[in-house]
Symmetry: C2
Subunit: 204 residues, 2 copies
DNA sequence: TATAACATACCAACTGGTTGGTATGTTTGC
DNA sequence: GCAAACATACCAACCAGTTGGTATGTTATA
């Protein structure tokens, strides 16, 4: 009775492979064979679990939502009592995540949506869902911070939450162009400064 | 008797085709045949002018620099005497460019660098050049605005200039995910608000 | 000025390898 | 024993790139 400790689970291995390979090479350049090779499974296993490459793209985006969902849910910044501190803590946490190689800290769905938004609507929708659901969590804290201060402003919590995601996605593009995380950290610093200015926090 | 009139010029037609097709489908999904079909030339012409698809990628990025270079050089915001007004005018101009379909207003090099940064260093470098040279122009106005006000701050003109590009690139990703320009305009509005706050401009 | 020699711009057909996907096994867990 | 989970073998379409060729300049030279 061999293999009692190892759990084959080709599907999970393929999804894990998708996260790293697609973030490195992009969705279109990633072949099904690439994914099978990386995951250590055969093509038969791939098409047993996914009815097409497009289907894997959607599943990978959903898997990414799950992956990042638990990552941010378990992050320490939620402990702050003041919702604004949670927002600023979130941004500091994003900056702290800029570690390892560029493919390691960049966003799967941001990469995928650029290649598929006109050609694969279901992948685009899955990417949109991933981004929007994540933004909604930050929006909640922004909204709470605004209400705690009874702010009268010409912008919404939703637009600021989405703006944080735009900055992060753009920071990743610059990091890819310049081959390092430093520029991305600078951009997040500007975003943090902006949020502090919006909420009248004394900048040190 | 030199041909001073019109030149059919398959090369120019291929580069024009590259701008639209790659922005729509992405670099990897764009085949050489796609470009030839769009340009109305044959494959022989393609490989006469470009030694490889990769070579076209580099040429397309350089062509994009040229294209955007003249676009922004001829833009009206340069008329302002105050350099800060030029910076804010630039950002308003970027917002005004959000017209037509998503492939029409998004950035070629931002799209390409995501797919090539790990696999095609020369394309990545060409994209980086395009972004950085553009940012340098905005940096000049930001720097002038800072010096005119003798500002003592903990950020540099260069980092703010690059941050504007990050916001724009990220705004394009969100526009692709959500299928419209509205969200991109919102993000640029946040960026404008940030610049005004940094320079203590009275927000209306 | 005539012409040989060369260069540029382009074309249609082809090639070897890769692609996503399928058809048909074999193995495993309940 | 039977379905789900894999593996093997294969295919037609497509891919980037090559080939051999034509048509139209441009330059050198006598």
């Amino acid at each position: 009775m061999p293999k009692l400790d190892t759990k084959p689970d080709a599907k999970a291995k393929l999804l894990d492979a998708a996260l790293s390979v697609i973030r490195t090479k992009g969705y279109s350049s990633t072949s099904v064979d690439d994914l099978c090779r990386e995951a250590g499974v055969t093509k038969g296993a791939f098409f047993h679990h996914f009815k097409s490459k497009n289907d894997l793209g959607v599943a990978a985006a959903d898997y990414w939502s799950l992956f990042t969902g638990t990552l941010f849910t378990n992050a320490p910044y939620h402990d702050h009592a003041d919702p604004l501190d949670r927002v600023l803590g979130y941004l500091e946490f994003r900056k702290a995540l800029l570690r390892g190689g560029v493919p390691d800290f960049t966003c799967l769905v941001g990469t995928m949506v650029q290649e598929t938004y006109e050609t694969a609507p279901n992948i685009r929708d899955a990417c949109d869902r991933s981004i929007s659901e994540h933004a909604a969590k930050i929006e909640a804290d922004i909204d709470a911070a605004m209400q705690a201060r009874a702010m009268a402003v010409d912008w919404t919590a939703e637009s600021l939450a989405l703006h944080t995601q735009a900055v992060l996605q753009g920071a990743f593009i610059l990091a890819k162009a310049k081959g390092g995380a430093a520029i991305a950290a600078d951009s997040i610093d500007h975003l943090i400064r902006y949020v502090k200015l919006l909420f009248d926090v004394q900048t040190t």
